[in-house]
């Protein structure tokens, strides 16, 4: 089986919060008639330097057409020649680059083809299934002012009604609002909400973070994330020595993972296939395992195609010590698949169909086709107009 054509469709989804995310849906056509699905997800992180779609098309035509979908390692090895940095060198946040996302999107479609050709789910190409479902966590972005608190509590009531009871919360923009929110959360929902962690977003000098941690620790959470400046591994290690919960950090690349390990910076690797595909992420899981660290599986918030890749990777890794973060299909109001990937309460159900186990709905995809470019609209990743 050989890939004969690459089709790219830019689409736009809205989030429950009203912000817009843009994605590119990939379809790899083959000489056997099978079509592989992939997704380059949530490109708004790169709002400042979005890819040129025509150039991307030319590049992927050259890189992917003619490829045998079963030769995953070979694909990555060749891609390293053209995108030398992805998976190997990247800073902490975001834990992926445009290059790594392109790699992940194509790889996903190649795996989908391989699985479909064999009539087996992708997890069987990754070592087989360790679990049928993955625990997940819904993100609550920071309250920016005290007035946000009531609105957030209403949003959480909606989630609870859907059966979603595990949250993570971003802190640090307005500490008063953070504390008010967490206190109100416990007042209203008690312990029925599981607060997995607080994400400090790399905003703090580690000593300042520790004071904030002490102030917020009565509200109960299992881990803290991004506890010091992005490259301050020693600062993270200082925090780790002093707190009672696990210290977790995004892992972007081999280089950064090794720095984390050497510095004793963290307890938990937060790993996403966006750093270099399922193939690459599996290597980061192995690195954590070798270093005696714990893991959770993360996300950039994909639609159902990309979330299926999270599910297959998560199904096949040896251990997941904390709940993961991939809830894109719950965040977005639109999707491009016949059925969205399934959640039951806090759990993501691993698809059992062949390949990724996801079926594209072309009409839904066409309905949300849209340009990547549009500066004026609100976007969560821009840090500019974000809500």
């Amino acid at each position: 089986m050989k890939v004969t054509a690459v089709s790219l469709t830019p689409v736009r989804t809205t989030r429950r919060t009203g912000t817009v995310s843009v994605h590119i849906v990939l379809q790899l056509k083959t000489d056997e008639g099978l079509v592989g699905l992939g997704e380059i997800s949530d490109l708004d992180c790169y709002r400042m330097h979005l890819p040129d779609l025509d150039s991307l098309q030319v590049a992927l035509d050259r890189m992917v057409v003619g490829r045998d979908p079963f030769r995953q390692a070979h694909f990555h090895q060749e891609l390293f020649g053209f995108l030398p940095t992805y998976l190997r060198y990247a800073n902490t946040y975001p834990p992926f680059t445009l290059a790594s996302q392109i790699a992940a999107g194509v790889e996903m479609a190649l795996y989908d083809l391989a699985g479909k050709r064999l009539g087996t789910p992708v997890y069987n190409l990754l070592g087989g299934k360790m679990r049928d479902e993955l625990e997940m966590t819904y993100p609550i972005f920071q309250a920016k002012r005290l007035e946000d608190v009531a609105r957030y509590l209403d949003l959480i009531q909606d989630l609870v009604d859907m059966g979603v009871t595990r949250l993570r919360y971003y802190v640090g923009v307005d500490v008063e609002a953070d504390e008010r929110f967490l206190a109100s959360l416990r007042d209203r929902f008690g312990d029925s909400i599981h607060l997995k962690g607080l994400d400090f977003q790399g905003r703090f000098y580690w000593k300042d973070m520790l004071r904030l941690y002490e102030r917020l620790s009565p509200y109960g959470f299992d881990l803290v994330e991004s506890v010091s400046w992005a490259e301050d591994y020693e600062g993270m290690a200082e925090v780790r020595r002093r707190v009672d919960v696990a210290v977790c950090e995004h892992i972007s690349s081999y280089a950064q993972a090794m720095r984390m390990i050497r510095a004793g910076a963290v307890d938990v690797f937060n790993i996403t296939h966006q750093s270099g595909g399922m193939w690459g992420a599996a290597r980061l899981f192995a690195l954590a395992d070798a270093a005696g660290l714990q893991c959770l599986i993360s996300t950039t918030q994909e639609m159902s195609i990309g979330t299926a890749a999270v599910a297959h990777l998560g199904a096949s890794v040896p251990a997941l010590h904390f709940a993961g973060d991939a809830v894109g299909p719950l965040l977005y109001n639109e999707d491009v698949t016949v059925e969205p990937i399934r959640y039951e309460g806090n759990r993501l159900i691993v698809p059992d169909g062949p390949g990724l186990g996801i079926v594209l709905d072309e009409a839904k995809m066409e309905a949300i086709r849209g340009s990547l470019i549009e500066w004026d609209r609100p976007a969560h990743g821009s840090g500019y107009i974000a809500d």
């Binding site: 400042m48 040129d52 590049a59 030398p84």
Partner: protein, 400 residues
């Protein structure tokens, strides 16, 4: 004075080696009518995911229009928020920030009628020794033409070279042997540059073999990327100073603290312009280390900026690498930088020095679309890859 206009021009410029490279020229204009020009140099290093230029232009306008161009620090801090360090060379963020940083300095300096170095503390030298690159040899057939090229450059006044090595050791040895025989003491070798191709042991062994035949001033990138321990092992064992490209302040600190280098290679295109480069130079100075000014092969605007940077550094003990204007066959400026006896002269005109010519800008403009042909390996390597090119050259190495 406020910034009122920002425009980006994508241009395509050929090199004497036959390849073509894309750059973005930045034009800023203020409410008082002052203009400044900058350069995002050689974007062809990023062929697989080139950014959308109209979108970039839109974003930068949104961020910069209305700002006081003299508020360098505030503008830089804001830009870093949008275009953070990416943890490696050839980052888009560094190139974008360099383009803006250069244009801001050009604008403010032109407006004041002074050269850019006066905004950076003032020049302590009026010329900077530079070296000419001998690109990585992949086959022994390439040795003869490479030696002939050294002669050509010597005739043009460049008496210092740097050699990219490590891909085909036998060819490297042939080259150095031939070089010693033909040029002896007339041409100096600034460095052997391994471009992170080899682990430190193999790089050290190769260095020993080559430097048994000739002296060098330093060696560069003698361990895999990010392998600071490897650099340190090499540095302990070798009598030659070790240099490595710096891709951020934290990286500079790590390289120095862990004994990985004697020299920091500071390149505005990686670090995001002049001010970011000066901060790294200060780190090196505090650590008692040296710096050298590196290149991605800039056009005249970028090369002029490197000259202003080199002009203000307290100590600049090693030749710089900035010979881009001699490598490219055309440019967008009229008054380009000048070289004399192998030195890059620090421009004395206002601003960066070179003056952008509207006609030339128009002639070189490209539509900003893919233009790298079908040979992706050649696009990445900046060469047309010969048949049977070695695997190493495709394995993530980028020779200039």
């Amino acid at each position: 004075m406020k910034l009122s206009h920002l425009d980006l021009y994508t241009i395509r410029v050929g090199r004497e080696t036959g390849v073509t490279n894309e750059h973005i020229i930045v034009r800023l204009e203020s409410t008082s009518g002052a203009t400044g020009w900058g350069e995002m140099s050689d974007l062809s290093h990023l062929p697989m995911y080139r950014f959308d230029v109209p979108q970039l232009e839109l974003s930068l306008r949104e961020i910069l229009i209305g700002a006081d161009p003299g508020q360098f620090n505030a503008i830089e801090r804001r830009l870093i928020g949008f275009f953070p360090d990416e943890g490696h060379m050839y980052s888009r963020s560094g190139l974008i920030r360099q383009g803006i940083d250069l244009a801001l300095h050009d604008l403010v300096a032109r407006d004041g009628g002074v050269p850019v170095h006066q905004l950076l503390g003032g020049a302590v030298r009026d010329r900077i020794p530079v070296c000419y690159p001998v690109f990585r040899l992949r086959t022994e057939d390439q040795v003869g033409p490479a030696l002939d090229r050294v002669q050509t450059k010597l005739d043009e006044g460049f008496s210092t070279i740097r050699i990219y090595v490590g891909s085909a050791p036998a060819a490297d040895e042939m080259f150095v042997a031939g070089f010693v025989e033909r040029f002896g003491a007339r041409v100096r070798i600034k460095s052997l540059d391994f471009s992170n191709l080899l682990d430190w042991r193999r790089a050290l062994a190769h260095t020993e073999r080559l430097t048994a035949m000739c002296d060098v001033m330093l060696v560069e990138s003698v361990a895999p990327r990010d392998d600071i321990e490897g650099l340190a092992e090499f540095r302990r064992r070798s009598r030659w100073p070790v240099s490595e490209h710096v891709h951020g302040a934290r990286h500079a600190w790590d390289l120095l603290r862990r004994g990985g280098v004697d020299i920091l290679n500071i390149s505005p295109y990686v670090l995001g312009g002049l001010r970011a480069s000066l901060r790294i130079a200060a780190v090196a100075e505090a650590a008692g280390a040296s710096v050298l000014v590196g290149t991605t092969q800039e056009l005249n605007l970028g090369t002029a900026a490197a000259a202003h940077l080199g002009a203000v550094l307290h100590a600049l003990p090693f030749p710089a690498d900035n010979t881009g204007p001699r490598l490219y066959t055309s440019d967008v400026v009229t008054d380009g930088v000048e070289y004399e006896h192998g030195d890059l002269l620090v421009p004395t005109g206002p601003g960066l020095g070179p003056v952008v010519d509207a006609m030339r800008l128009k002639d070189l403009s490209s539509d900003g679309r893919w233009s790298f042909g079908t040979d992706l390996a050649g696009a990445l390597d900046r060469t047309v890859a010969p048949a049977g090119a070695s695997a190493a050259s495709r394995d993530g190495s980028i020779s200039k």
